[in-house]
């Protein structure tokens, strides 16, 4: 991607070179480097139509700066900061003129470059007499660091990649059976489950002390009373867990007795669907037999 942008930039510059006079440098380069700069790079102008493509090729201000530096075979450790700043600003201005959406990072970098440039012009002696760090040092560090990972990205891209450079070798395996593993259970898990369920049952038991007085016959009557004139009642609704173990047993036995005496019948729409109970009004039909089979299975 950057390669094609590179080519476009070059072509563009050739076309532009004949039309545009070389721009006057706004800063004498000599101040920066201690020696005169004779040549103003002119090959960085890009015609507007190519600019968008060109800018998309950059991964950000660091990438653009690196391009400007590498393009001219400049030493990254000794960037002619005024020159690079001017070139960088030309892009920023062009981008703004073209109303391209300019990421904030580009403007931030422009400010940083301007600051470095101004500091380069000042005598670099601090009050302690120690020499200040080169104003470019931080920028150079960032550029180096970025370039390091830019290269690492290229290296990763160059690694033999599955489905691009190598393909996994696969042969068909016929008559394969899926072996389904059974879940594992720890003894502790079962113990916790047991404590849990016992605890719940105990709580119900505490609520009803008079459970001993219940009788199967009495409960049969109660069940029949519930069913009187209401049609179907869901089987489990006849039970009240809060009566505790004995109470539920009594209800259950009561229902079984009622079934045996063909006073009620149990119906079920489909296997594993909820059971329903209703009073037998007329003669017993096949459903009763089925229901007994279900409950005693």
């Amino acid at each position: 991607m950057s390669e094609s942008a590179d080519i476009e930039a070059r072509n563009g510059s050739e076309a532009a070179a004949s039309e545009l006079p070389p721009q006057q440098a706004e800063m004498p380069f000599a101040i920066v480097d201690g020696e005169p700069v004779t040549e103003v790079p002119r090959d960085l102008y890009i015609p507007p139509q190519a600019l968008e493509v060109f800018l998309e090729a950059f991964e950000g201000p660091l990438d653009l700066l690196l391009y400007l530096i590498r393009r001219q075979n400049l030493d990254i450790l000794d960037i002619p900061i005024a020159d690079i700043t001017r070139q960088y600003m030309e892009y920023i201005q062009l981008m703004q003129e073209l109303d391209l959406e300019l990421a904030g990072e580009y403007l931030l970098m422009a400010a940083m470059l301007a600051e470095i440039k101004s500091r380069m012009l000042l005598p670099r002696m601090s009050e302690g007499g120690e020499e200040e760090e080169d104003p470019r040092a931080e920028l150079v560090r960032r550029l180096q660091e970025y370039e390091r990972f830019k290269r690492a990205a290229e290296d990763i891209d160059g690694l033999p990649r599955l489905d691009r450079d190598v393909y996994p070798a696969v042969a068909e395996l016929t008559h394969r059976q899926v072996v389904r593993l059974l879940p594992e259970v720890a003894l502790q898990e079962m113990l916790v489950a047991f404590k849990d369920v016992v605890q719940r049952a105990t709580m119900f038991a505490h609520l009803h002390v008079q459970r001993d007085t219940l009788s199967v016959r009495q409960r049969m009557s109660d069940v029949l009373a519930i069913l009187e004139g209401v049609g179907l009642v869901e089987f489990i609704r006849l039970f009240r867990p809060e009566e505790g173990r004995l109470g539920v047993t009594v209800t259950f036995v009561a229902i079984l007795e009622l079934l045996r005496e063909q006073l009620v019948e149990i119906v079920q729409a489909e296997p594993y669907q909820p059971l329903h109970v209703r009073r037998v009004e007329a003669t017993a039909d096949a459903a009763t037999v089925e229901a007994i089979e279900i409950t005693s299975a």
């Binding site: 393909y167 996994p168 070798a169 696969v170 042969a171 068909e172 395996l173 016929t174 008559h175 394969r176 059976q177 899926v178 072996v179 389904r180 593993l181 059974l182 879940p183 594992e184 259970v185 720890a186 003894l187 502790q188 898990e189 079962m190 113990l191 916790v192 489950a193 047991f194 404590k195 849990d196 369920v197 016992v198 605890q199 719940r200 049952a201 709580m203 119900f204 089987f235 489990i236 039970f239 867990p241 505790g244 173990r245 004995l246 539920v248 047993t249 259950f252 036995v253 079984l256 007795e257 045996r260 594993y272 909820p274 409950t295 005693s296």
Partner: protein
Amino acid sequence: METGTLKSIIEAALLAYGQPLSVEQLREIFDEPERPEAAAVRKALAALADDCEGRPVELVEVASGWRMQVRRQYSTRLSKLWQERPTRYSRALLETLALIAYRQPITRAEIENVRGVTVNPNIVRTLTERGWIRVVGHREVPGHPELLGTTREFLDYFGLRTLDELPSLAALKDMDDLGIQLDLDGPATVQAAPAGLPAANDADAAG
């Protein structure tokens, strides 16, 4: 193209593709003018089939073309590679199992009494198929309900010699001390199951 080279490319293609390739598809790998004739491809396929002698793969022709396949003799053994990860048992199943283990012999009705919900028949079936529970008799009450108990396999699985070796409820006290949070508030708080226990919804309650 030399048959050896053609054969290698065909083998590479069949193994990379992993599905049958027809002679025509194999020819299309090559651009003109090096595209081989169908006869040349067939000759290379025959040579490749010969090469497979003594190897664990073979070249076979199926409806849509040729494919490399692992010889059938390896199928059973290699099926182990596709073992499915088991799902965890539901809390309802563990409670049912626990009640059968600790309170055996026990009827379904008795399990229902304690748990407060009906026993899902799937749970009893799963436990029976696993070989952990069995019918040990019938209670002499109306309906003669089945009495459920645990099996020798159950003991083997949990590394117990006898049922007496099942940890007592007192042992749970120690577990509490270890900071294992127990769900004491009944079925409404199943979702607050202690860490390590499946937070599966109660199949019984749902049924």
